[in-house]
Amino acid sequence: MTPSRKLILAGAALLVAFGIAACGEREQVVVYKQGKYQGKPDTKPWENDPGASLYTSSKWNKGDKTSWESAVRTRNLAQNEYTRAE
């Protein structure tokens, strides 16, 4: 290959490289990433002693999520007056 031909080939390759570079597309929209809570940790409601408050009427076992849920569920169902009236 003659040097002039090499030069032409190199020039063509450079031209193609420049041309293709224009085809690239950057993301125009900012993608939101959910932040992480930065504050203090909170205790779970079932981790409290049922007797910790003066007016607690519900009963559950301290630290037992299931028993707390069933206590709240009982309270929740009391909002249905059809079951209370019948």
């Binding site: 809570y37 930065q38 504050g39 409601p45 519900s58 709240v72 569920r73 169902l77």
Partner: protein, 207 residues
């Protein structure tokens, strides 16, 4: 347990504002802050007037959480959206983002300085020691830690406002609807997003 939710039955709400009062009393909310409000549409139009009690809806994908620049919001295991007032900078972004107008800002001083955000906590307190004085002072009552449900829902005289496990309150509401002689038609798109029948409303106003 599913997620904790509020559900207001517009057929039952009589705009007594008992929920608003119960919330104010339970949480000792300062003047100018309303964690809960009763909104009435078609006021004075016979047959078309409806009231609904609105507070923080504890959204599954809460916009307040998304926009908070200091990430002071968190979601509890029960699906309650709470925030840390020690982190809040009172910027008000959450107020603009919230479709329900739930975030409130206490104003103090001659220039109406905006304080730290305050909103409905589903009576679940906040990130302080449960049932402590600090928790009460910052966030109000923590009824969930006492095995109770929000005061607004439990005090509602007509039981229009239901609060608690989403599955349970949905069942209660469904039973009511069936008792009223209605069926699956009340669950549709038209009920949720349709416009009231204007002709009927106008006829009602004339009578």
């Amino acid at each position: 347990m599913a997620r904790m939710k509020f559900l207001c039955d517009a057929e039952r709400c009589i705009e007594c504002n008992g929920c608003v009062t119960a919330c104010k009393n339970e949480n000792e909310v300062p003047w100018g802050v309303n964690r809960r409000r009763v909104v009435t549409i078609n006021d004075g139009i016979v047959g078309a007037e409806k009231s609904i009690s609105v507070a923080c809806m504890h959204c599954s994908d809460a916009p307040c959480m998304a926009v908070c620049p200091v990430d002071c919001f968190y979601r509890t295991d029960e699906g309650v959206v709470l925030h840390d007032k020690d982190l809040c900078i009172g910027c008000g972004y959450c107020f603009y983002a919230c479709p329900f107008g739930a975030p409130q800002f206490p104003q103090a001083g001659a220039f109406g300085m905006r304080g730290k955000m305050d909103k409905c906590t589903f009576c679940a307190g906040g990130p302080e020691k449960d049932l402590s004085e600090e928790e009460f002072a910052k966030y109000g009552s923590n009824r969930l830690a006492q095995g109770k449900l929000p005061a607004c829902a439990e005090m509602c005289s007509t039981k229009a406002l239901l609060g608690g496990d989403g599955d349970v309150i949905a069942d209660i509401y469904r039973q009511r609807v069936f008792k009223r002689g209605k069926g699956s038609e009340v669950w549709g798109w038209g009920t949720a997003y349709g416009k009231p029948d204007r002709k009927k409303a106008q006829a009602g106003a004339k009578s």
